[in-house]
Structure formats: C-alpha cells, structure tokens
Point group: C2
Chain length 336, copies 2
C-alpha cells in the first residue's frame, strides 16, 4: 500500500481509528503540483464525476430547450438530501420533459434528510425514485435523451448515446482515452468511471479554467460550474459539506463528493484541480482532508477556515449529544 | 502504520477501496498464536466488551434476584436492532427493577431495524431510549445498581460502583492493571476501555475457557456465554452477523461486534480468543475478516462456511438491488 496517513479519529486520549489515502493537486496544464499517496491510482470517481456528466445537458441544447434554471443544472450535479427543495425541482424537470418519476432508473432509497424521511413515514407516503440522491443526475440524463430523440427506457446503459456523450466528455477533460476508462456500476445503476486520481484532478482543473476548449465546450463548462456555485444548496442540501463549502467560497470554488471516500474541488482563481480518495472508502474523512488541502495551499482565508471548522475537525458525539472525540487531519502536502 | 491489508472492496474490475487492520488469536494461557498487523495496538473494545461487562450482573446476584432469563442476560451483551423482541424485553427488565425507560442514560437514536423505525414514524410514536442499541447493557448495569442499593442516576460515571465492578472484571480477564486501561466515552455515554488487541483476545479466550477462575467467576462467565449462545437473536437481531453467526455455531462460539471496526470471538472447543480491529473503523469489513480467520484456523465446517457466505464475501448492491461488487478477505494468518 502506498496510501498515506491523512486523518486521525481521536476518542479520549487515544487514536481510535486512522484514515489513509491519496491526494492529487493539478493545474489546468496537467502538471501535478502536489501529491500524497499514489496520484496514479485508478479510482472510481463515483458522484464526484457529476459536474463533468452534466456538461452534455448544456452541449446538446437540452438545458436551453427546456429552459433549465441554474438550480436545475446544479441539481443535475447533486448527491442531494431528498429535501422538498430537491424533489420538487426533480418533479418539475421531469414534467418539463413530459415524463414522470417512473422514468427514473436510479432505484429508491430513504431520503438522506431525516426530517423528510420521517415525514414520509408519518404521512404514509411511498418512497419513490425522486428521493434517490442521484435523481437530479438521472433527470439531467433523461433531458438529453428526450432532446436528442433517443430512447428513455435504457438511458442508463453504457452503450446508450447518453452515456457515450458523457464518456467522451470525461475522456476529453481528464485526458484518458475512452477505451482506458474503467467502467463499473454505480449505486444508482449508471456507469461509473475509473481513472487515475491525478486525471480526475485534471478534469476539475480544466473545469476551473476551461480556456483550452472550444467556445462551445468552454461555455457549457462555465454554465455548469456557475450553476453549482449559484445554487449550492441543490448539490447536497442542509448541513452538507458540498453546499456549505460552496456558499462560503462565494463563487470561487466548486466541489463535489463521491461515494467511497472521494472528493474533488476546482478553484477558479488559481485554476487548480484537487482530487482525493480515502483508501478505505469512508466519507467522514473527506471534508477534513479537503479543507486541510485548501488551507495548506493558501486558498482559503482565516475567516473561511473558521466557518468550515466543523468540517475541518468534525466532532464525534454520542447519543446523548456529548462531544466524545474528534477527526483531525495529520498530513502535509508534498511537492510532486 | 503496521496494519495489514485485510479486505478488498471490488467494484467492476478494480479494487475500489481497501481495509487494513490488526488480528490477534490467543489461547486462554495468554499465548499469542497468530497475529496480523500489530497485536499490541491499544484499541477501544467498544461494544465488543459487553460480554465481559455483563459478568457483574451474575456475580452481584442481580441476575438471580431478578430471575433473569438467558435472553435477558444475552440482551445485556447486545448491540441490538431495536426490534420489538428487544425493546419489549428491555421494558420488562426495567419493570422488574421498578424502573422505567427514563432511567436509561444511553440517549436515543433511531432503531437500527428499518421496519421498526418506519413503524414508529407511521404511528407517531416517540423514539425513546429503549430503542438505543445499548439499552440492554444499560438495563443490566441498572440491575446491579438496584440490587446493590446504589444510586441509579449516575450509574454511567466511571467512579460509580457499577463501572468499577466492570473495570475490575475487565482487568482480571484481560490481565491489564486497572490503572493501565485507557478510558474514553462510548456512543451511549458509558466508559469504553482501551487495551492492547491481544489482551482483548485473551479476555475472550478466558471466557471461552474460564477454568483458571474461582468457581464464582467461572460460573458467572459460563452463564453469560451460554445465554448469548442460547438467545443469539438478542445480541443483534434479524440479519445481523453476531446473531446469525452464533446460530450457525450451535453453542460452540460466541461473538460480539464493537463500533469502529472491532470484532471478538471466543471458541469453547479450542479455548481460543480472537480479536480484530479494522484500522479505519469500518464495520463492513469485520465479518469478512472474522469468518476468514475461523476458516483459516479450521474452526468452521464447509457447511457452516457456506451458511456464512454472505458475511464472508458480502455483496455490494445498488439502489436497484443489482449486485455490483463484493468484499473479499485477502490476508493469510501469520504465526506469532
């Protein structure tokens, strides 16, 4: 293993658990500036790929045709809480497409937002697919299929034009040939994309600074990242790092979490892309590492750091809501 | 880090995540027979300590006085699902003690068993402390306080006789002086105990073969382990490894999970104690390691292994319930 020790989980006076992993910081020219662990490790980006996956929604003209608001496009990049602000908007998008929740092939799971979940149970309401945290992404995929006159039943399959457009965008932004992208199946049934960590960081760097692309692609990328930063509450929701982080970064950075311990950030000011993977797949360690990377790169102010404190050093609480421990980042970024 | 690579998380054709950790296999004489990673690592046993914590319930005479059934004692060793089989029994124990749910200081969390949780929401029932997975342990602690005429408001504090009896038992079984046991606070508000992994294994070995103890302690230990194996459904519940594992082991082994990736087993036939800690604290990796250790030690039959297959090689499913990956143990036990 060439992962590095990134985060300690402290309880009482001892380190109860440790998280190890990999970090890559890349500029939009593809130069690896900093790395910890193995920046060449092939990882599944999981939901961190959603901002790239949203680009065809603009490029096909679907976003314009269906008059998507920034919040609609932001929701297409989301792993959302399933709050009403998310599910109402998903239903509205589907209605614009002439579709219903039945067209979503993401499957169902209880909404992440506890109050929504409990409210559904209290009112005896069935949990349907719009509550799936990926329902915005699926709605976005459907918008391109409808707009291009393609079949909607099988949009989730790798050989469908919806997925082929996405993989072409990923290949272009991450500079990995289509045939070298590892394909797996995500928690919501669509393909996930496996590429080296540093190339995932490159994808975010090129979204932060899309000057090397054609005007069309550049415009589409800017529309997606602006939408995320303009409507960050869509990307996660209440008490979620992605949303709170983008609010605090005030239009300078966009970030997206992925399952199994992935996090990616693009910084517009520096044009840097950051990608990190917690080796063991634990999501709790991602925000401490992400904020610590920004701190060490000097990309956040003291005030922003203070506002992100509970994501930087998350408290562990017991069921009595007493603080009984803390997560702490323990690494130093290394020049690559 | 001296943890070893124990489990791969496979998605598609790649290893998406890895779990590393530590294993100790000890006999009841305290000989370390096998170890992977660092068997001397000080870890918090968390809920894996519950079988040892239940011993004073018998030794104080509380179990006899309150006519505890084996299932009551088994529930005192539980991290249960909060199913009605568990919560009804907790309420019954409290009623025997002349107490109510209000005396439980474990705090509340939604019951782990989804149907129970959703049922509570549907009926508008408040989630009270008996649904906390540790409510059986807390009821057991209260039984000793009541029986010994001690205060019940502060039974969770380290200097209360309830906790002092427990720490004396732990010290005796694990051969760690009381003053060397690291103390933290558990998710349910009571002290947790930090000791070297091999000493935790020793505690389980000595519970599996308690012949070195006084008749009183030996009898109490046998009463606890018999209760766990006689009523394994109390220790976890439906679809829980602890319960299913003990059912399949048919009175030969007892096992108990602990938070942050701990698992411990005692085997009556061989007198061996096994303790394992996943370095990153992830619970999903514990059953694959536990079953693999038993397999490599030759302690389970082909038939038992087959029955434990879904715990040995857990499937990863997406929200559409398709199998899209698998956990796989990847280590070989090493002679210590």
């Amino acid at each position: 293993m060439n992962a590095e020790h990134l985060v300690d989980v402290i309880r009482g006076n001892i380190v109860e658990s440790e998280h190890w992993g990999h970090i890559a910081v890349v500029n939009s020219d593809g130069e690896l500036l900093y790395s910890n662990g193995n920046p060449n490790k092939v990882i599944f980006a999981r939901s961190s790929m959603k901002p790239l996956q949203a680009i065809p929604i603009v490029e096909t003209g679907a976003a314009d045709f269906f008059q998507f608001e920034p919040a609609d496009l932001s929701l297409a990049c989301a792993s959302h809480n399933g709050e009403s602000q998310h599910t109402d908007r998903v239903k509205n998008i589907l209605s614009k497409l002439g579709l219903t929740t039945d067209s979503l092939k993401c499957g169902t799971h209880p909404p992440r937002w506890k109050e929504t979940y409990e409210g559904l149970m209290q009112s005896g309401t069935e949990i349907t697919a719009e509550f799936n945290n990926c329902s915005g992404k699926h709605s976005g995929m459907l918008s391109t299929a409808i707009h291009m006159g393609e079949s909607v039943e099988d949009y989730y399959k790798i050989d469908h034009p919806v997925q082929q457009r996405i993989i072409e965008v990923i290949s272009d932004l991450t500079e990995i040939p289509v045939e070298d992208i590892e394909i797996g199946i995500d928690g919501c049934g669509v393909p996930v994309h496996g590429i080296p960590l540093k190339n995932l960081a490159l994808g975010f760097a090129k979204m932060a600074n899309p000057s090397s692309f054609s005007d069309k692609r550049k415009g589409a990328i800017e529309q997606v990242t602006s939408a995320m930063m303009e409507a960050p509450e869509m990307v996660g929701g209440t008490d979620r790092f992605c949303s709170d982080f983008m609010k605090i970064e005030e239009g300078q950075m966009f970030g997206k979490a992925g399952a199994e311990g992935v996090y990616c950030i693009g910084d517009l000011k520096s044009g840097l892309g950051i990608a990190l993977k917690i080796e063991d797949g634990t999501g709790r360690a991602t925000s401490p590492v992400a904020v610590e990377v920004l701190k060490q790169l000097g990309l956040i102010s003291e005030e922003q750091k203070e506002l992100l404190k509970e994501y930087h050093y998350p408290s562990l609480k017991n069921a009595r809501q007493e603080v009984i421990g803390q997560l702490r980042p323990v690494f130093s970024l290394k020049n690559a």
